[in-house]
Symmetry: C2
Subunit: 251 residues, 2 copies
């Protein structure tokens, strides 16, 4: 059994407040779970706590929906304030059908509702936006952990996106720091000496998916550590996984 | 650290031949790696060994490309025999641009090259097709393991597919037996009492992605076991993850 990795959920993160220091949140959660980071670990952090710490919450009581949002919301029985926030977070609508909005965010992500989740804080409804720059957030946590622990721990910010052609959402990497998010096997040969074509593997997305298995939406485990996976070190970024418009056949 | 899962690669699978018994392949690989299955384990099997055992190999020396395949291959510097096989495996072309064929297979999968991989057996080029019915293959392995071990082990047949909007391929579940591939959180409340909308998680795809992290294309590890994940038992099928045409906005 030479080849084993572990995925460890760290659940003991307190309710996150605007301005909270990510690194402290991570270290406190680890400490509360009697967990010690090791060299080789990869940390996966859900988008939600990053967005909350960065203050990316919009109080729906303060949103004035425009005419377009009102019309779409009325047709499809949606909250016009939510629709308005989604439209503001979109740079381009890809599809807008049957009450579903698939759009491109300013980060280049293509997803439902521009990645906006609904949240409830102190009894009021908030829209939780994506972090402004998930790669910068990932790098901030990576840097903080290096300062505090003296370890190089790659960090992935994850979120759950839908896909074309397949039911259900899966966790993917929207921010990456400290590792190469794509592994390029082109030009290498497989176990039988056969040249491998078109094999670029989005390992950061696969790591985010593995992390979701211990995060469990209901229990609200916002951190996971992947241990034992031999990642390729590098600066890395989640933007490398965003397909360039010129190559994308489904925009 | 209550919440930990392990992903264990089983690499010691011999070269697979047509007609090989999957269950025996799995048991031999486990035995060679000193691995014992436990209740709660999930087995992930790469499509390639299933296809090979089922004889889904097409000898390219015997393929006569048609005019359409010849033209497309000449324009984009492809092997016309490979293109011909891909077209035969497709029930509908979704996109055919810049040498790339995205098509729908008879199973309803939408992917590049109709899921056809190139393989090399005994010095000759073969096209390796998807299994005829990955759900039936998964069920066959599940049933075999139950007979041999007396354990209920869910089985996922995995393959690496590309995605719209994102670079790189990730491992997904093309066949499932013994577990629910989708977890439906709709109507449930999260840790903060907020009702969760639109949260159906494709856990079988996430498990397949986690498995890829130990499979490693180059080393050719064709089996992985996910241990410690509390799956929802059920008959299950990979077809449940294939989006119904009526709901799919990107066909």
């Amino acid at each position: 059994m030479a080849n084993t990795i572990s995925v460890i959920g760290l659940g003991a993160v307190p309710e996150v407040r605007v301005g909270d220091d990510y690194t402290q949140l991570v270290l406190e959660a680890a400490s509360a779970d009697d967990f010690s980071f090791q060299a080789g670990d990869i940390l996966v952090v859900t988008q939600k706590i990053v967005s909350k710490a960065e203050g990316m919450l919009v109080d729906l009581r303060e949103v004035q929906p425009g005419e377009f949002a009102k019309q779409f919301a009325a047709t499809w029985d949606k909250d016009p304030r939510q629709v308005e926030v989604v439209l503001r977070e979109s740079v381009r609508i890809v599809k807008m059908e049957r009450g579903i909005i698939i759009s491109e965010t300013r980060h280049g992500f293509i997803c439902a509702n521009a990645g906006v989740d609904m949240s409830n804080v102190a009894g009021y409804d908030y829209a939780c936006l994506l972090p402004k720059n998930s790669d910068a957030s990932a790098e901030c946590i990576r840097h903080g952990l290096r300062e505090q622990l003296g370890l190089e721990i790659p960090v992935i910010i994850s979120d759950s996106f839908g896909r074309a052609w397949r039911n259900g959402i899966t966790n993917i990497a929207i921010g990456v720091a400290g590792m190469q998010p794509l592994l390029d096997y082109r030009g290498t040969t497989d176990a039988h000496g056969y040249l491998m074509h078109a094999s670029i593997i989005a390992v950061a997305d696969e790591i985010a998916s593995a992390a979701e298995l211990v995060m469990n939406k209901i229990d609200g485990v916002p951190l996971a550590v992947v241990r034992g996976y031999k990642y390729a070190p590098g600066v890395g970024s989640g933007q490398e996984i965003v397909m360039e418009a010129s190559r994308d056949m489904f925009r």
